[in-house]
Amino acid sequence: MSTAQTAAPPPAASRTTVSPLEIFLTFLIIGATSFGGGVVAYLRDALVGKKKWFDDVEFLEMTSISNTLPGLNATNMAILAGDRLAGWPGATGALIGMCLPAFIFMTAAGMVYSESHARPLASAALRGVAAAAVGLIAATWFKIGKKSLHGFYDAFFVMAAILGINYFKWGVPITLLAVGAVAIFTYRPHTVPETSAQKDEDWINSLH
């Protein structure tokens, strides 16, 4: 967080335009080298560190948009960053670059896995990988939870979602809609009456 305060002000106006090809190549490299999950850390190194296309404030804003929307962080971030740098061609280039290496890897893995003579050995190795993946994913969410969960209500909504899926068997869509709606309502905006001047100003701002 301290880096966010020391970072330079957003260079939005003075930002030099980046070509969609350069965006594609940058995300292709990230997409091919970001092993072990945690793509966001790789993105920060490349986009804020090496390329200096964004400062920490703008990067943080993009991650919070990514987290709120459906879709994966890696691809949501690629789209948001690509769009800010070069509009929809940038977003498209970033998305394709981010996805292409994984697509080739996973399609090839499918070809190997469907070879019947390779399957017993592959399955044995993958049993070990799946076990390690449980630990890795648990650790990832443990770290996120430790950082972002505060107070009784947060803990309650985490438990409600877990019980909705694994105990009550509501299914993901119902659980998401039901628990999500209650959670959003719980954190609803404080009903402080706005002055009419404030409303006008907001309305004018919304037109820009």
Binding site: P70, L72, A74, A102, A124, A131, W141, L149
Partner: protein
């Protein structure tokens, strides 16, 4: 070939459930792929998901392997497009609206509310995944050691994933 429309439908639908990450959609994915369409067995789906953890880039590109196993390379492409393009367009549009929503008081409410729900859904998905992945004492030990190592050290987790592969190759045949 005749499975392509069903693959597209299933993965476009699943992509809308990936709030906070792919794990949130896993329980629904298991129901649709294993029980409803019978494209893969529960064990195969676990193996394919595990393979995704070894991939660079977005781990959920495992959807392409499902497509490849069901309908070949074209299936892989259909699954990848169905899974990444619709949510991608949504992200693109909301990304552009975001600044204008700055004064919309519910924006913060949605962010604060969905945070814990996303974590709960991910843990629920992990429990579902763990039921088929943790099958005995050895897999349990591998899982716990990986958890401790990833929480306590800064070593790239891909090495623990590869370590799991070696242990599996030797001891889980």
């Amino acid at each position: 070939m005749d499975q392509l429309p069903a693959l597209a439908r299933v993965f476009a639908y699943l992509s809308l459930l990936t709030i906070g990450g792919g794990m949130a959609a896993f329980p629904e994915m298991k129901v649709l792929i294993v029980d409803v369409h019978r494209w893969l067995t529960a064990d195969s789906l676990t193996h394919v998901y595990a393979t995704g953890q070894m991939s660079p880039g977005p781990n959920m590109m495992m959807v392409a392997e499902v497509g490849q196993l069901v309908a070949g390379p074209l299936g892989a492409l259909v699954c990848a497009l169905a899974f990444f393009v619709p949510t991608g367009i949504l992200t693109f549009l909301v990304g552009r609206l975001w600044k204008r929503l700055e004064h919309w008081p519910w924006r913060d409410s949605i962010q604060k509310g969905l945070g814990p729900v996303a974590i709960g859904l991910a843990v629920a998905g992990l429990i579902t995944f763990g039921r088929t992945a943790v099958t005995g004492w050895l897999t349990l030990v591998v899982g716990i050691l990986t958890f401790v190592a990833v929480v306590r050290t800064k070593i790239n987790p891909v090495f623990f994933i590869l370590g799991g592969a070696v242990i599996g190759f030797i001891a889980l045949r």
